[in-house]
């Protein structure tokens, strides 16, 4: 095997290792995750019940509830991705393993994409459970839903979400104490400009411009169309997501590398406490 082939093989084994580690950790904390799932479901219900309070005709109420549920599900999905990507770095720093991860001959891209890949898989499982439980609880009917197209679009959007997640995961390297929480700021800002519970058109014009560069805008629009109207995967939603992914991942990596250099310059990888 050539040296390049050996290197590629080693990087893929390393990527598997990152996913494997997160499976081990998730298994250890599964009961806590179940408790957190209850909170997510309760929180989503508080949003979806707004459709009931609107006193609309049954069909329009069902459509509004579905729209809100899609928004809340994507909010939860994005939350898991950012939380996993950012908190894992904070966690590694706390346990002191980050020094061993950074010492290993694993490319930073593979390391971070590995974290993102697990986050996306886990986020999809949780989002599916959330959607099914809340839809059943509220009694949402989606007879025309094209779940395949909705899932495919979410997978495509995940490429961009991973890129943004890589950017936010640098925060615990810069501020070990408060950095992880700042990931939620990115999540909130991205969703508020993307029309999470309302059409983008109701926002001020400058926010609508921001909506154009947010991957969540296209994920929300496309998934709502697929679940409410049964639409297929629309090219109008897919191509912006592809472009954002192509820009976000290298940009995220460059930002992370700059943060890593800062941490190595100032001795911030070392665990204290």
């Amino acid at each position: 095997m050539s040296e390049y082939a050996v290197e590629l093989r080693n990087q893929l084994v390393g990527l598997f290792g990152i996913v494997e580690r997160n499976v081990y950790l998730t298994r250890r904390y599964i009961l806590w995750d179940l408790a957190f799932m209850v909170w997510t479901i309760a929180n989503t219900l508080t949003i979806v019940f707004i459709a009931r309070a609107a006193h609309l005709p049954p069909a329009r109420e069902n459509t509004l509830a579905t729209m809100l549920l899609v928004g809340a599900t994507i909010w939860a999905f994005l939350g898991i991705i950012f939380e996993f990507m950012t908190e894992t770095v904070a966690w590694e720093r706390w346990e002191g393993t980050i020094e061993y991860t950074f010492m290993a001959p694993l490319s930073r891209l593979v390391h971070l994409v590995g974290q993102g890949a697990f986050a996306v898989l886990y986020g999809l499982i949780r989002a599916a459970i959330l959607f099914v439980v809340v839809a059943a609880f509220i009694g949402i009917h989606a007879p025309h839903a094209n779940y395949g197209a909705a899932l495919a679009l979410l997978a495509l959007a995940s490429l961009s979400f991973i890129g943004v997640g890589i950017m936010t995961s640098v925060l615990p390297l810069i501020s070990p104490e408060k950095g992880a929480q700042l990931g939620f700021v990115a999540q909130g800002v991205m969703l508020v400009v993307s029309g999470v519970y309302y059409p983008v058109s109701v926002m001020p014009e400058w926010m609508q411009w921001l909506a154009k560069i947010s991957p969540a805008t296209y994920a929300l629009r496309g998934d709502r169309a697929s679940i409410v109207h049964g639409s297929g995967l629309a090219w109008a939603d897919a191509w912006p997501l592809l472009i954002i992914a192509v820009v976000a991942t290298p940009l995220g990596l460059a930002i992370f590398r700059a943060g890593e250099r800062h941490a190595k310059r100032h001795g911030k990888l070392k665990r204290s406490g």
């Binding site: 040296e3 080693n10 580690r21 081990y24 904390y29 010492m103 190595k264 100032h266 070392k270």
Partner: protein
């Protein structure tokens, strides 16, 4: 035991080059001086102040120093975890700060803190760490029990969470983690600090065994004078970021006309080894 052979281009280089070459290496941290009040400016604090030394392939060298002397900073610089402020370091001819991918395949480290995912078991932590070096699940299924047996870790406890293991057990797993990847340069940063006497002897025996059976070069940083004397061929004293000397123990004693390394430290620095209550040392300890 599974080994990760260096690449084909790496082989001749390992034969030809010294294991470690450090020239005028400097590292300075900046820290706010609290005596100057809330708005005090950060001031530079040299953790390493222009140190120079060479380690030959297969050699075991000990660097002695008190807390805050710069030992851990040196180990972190050589393991690509810190960026230098000046000077250079080469490991088997590779620039330690610019050719980090090559360095990471050659070097591993055991530090005073075992640093594991505490909720994961010893076997899981080792398997996960080994993946970064290209070891597949099939390879680690055999290699992990084997390496744990070699460090004297009870096999029936390998599936227990790390949080349930004693400090000595955790340190053995840390040694196993470093050895699992067959490094040609092993950096040991106070590997026996905090261990009970029996665990300490077991770890020291294992270090001897590694030297005898593997072709590993070892840089041992410690504040245990006896440990340095029994394990290393040459001993150096790092004091407040300066390497005072690096020589065979007999030569150190002859140079200062003393019987012990402790007396040599006193002769070289004018301070007792272990007396580190000065404000200066406390300040340095934060980083170094």
């Amino acid at each position: 035991m599974s080994t990760l052979a260096p690449s084909t281009t790496e082989g001749p280089r390992l034969e030809r080059e010294p294991a470690v070459e450090v020239r005028d290496l400097r590292k300075t941290f900046r820290r706010r001086d609290h005596s100057g009040g809330r708005f005090a400016r950060k001031r530079p604090w040299p953790a390493l102040d222009g140190i120079t030394f060479t380690i030959a392939r297969g050699e075991c060298v000990a660097i002695l120093g008190q807390n805050g002397s710069g030992k851990s900073t040196l180990v972190r610089l050589l393991s690509t975890l810190l960026l230098e402020d000046g000077g250079e370091a080469r490991i088997f001819g590779h620039d330690a700060f610019r050719e980090t991918s090559a360095i990471r395949r050659l070097v591993n480290r055991v530090s005073v803190e075992a640093s594991f995912f505490k909720k994961m078991s010893a076997a899981e932590n080792l398997s996960y760490a080994a993946r970064f070096y290209g070891l597949t699940p099939r390879q680690t299924r055999a290699a992990v029990p084997e390496i744990l047996a070699r460090v004297g870790f009870p096999p029936e406890r390998r599936r227990e969470s790390m949080e349930h293991l004693s400090r000595g057990m955790q340190q053995k797993v840390a040694l196993a983690r470093a050895l699992l990847t067959s490094p040609v340069l092993l950096l040991l940063d106070e590997p026996t600090t905090g261990l009970d006497p029996r665990s300490k002897l077991e770890v020291q025996d294992f270090i001897r065994q590694v030297r005898a059976e593997h072709d590993a070069t070892i840089l041992l940083c410690t504040h245990d004078l006896a440990e340095a004397e029994t394990l290393a061929e040459r001993v150096g004293i790092l004091d407040r970021g300066r390497l005072l000397f690096l020589e065979p123990v007999a030569e150190v004693k002859r140079r200062f006309g003393v019987e012990t390394l402790e007396a040599a430290f006193f002769a070289a620095t004018g301070r007792e080894f272990g007396a580190e209550d000065a404000e200066d040392d406390e300040y340095r300890e934060v980083f170094a």
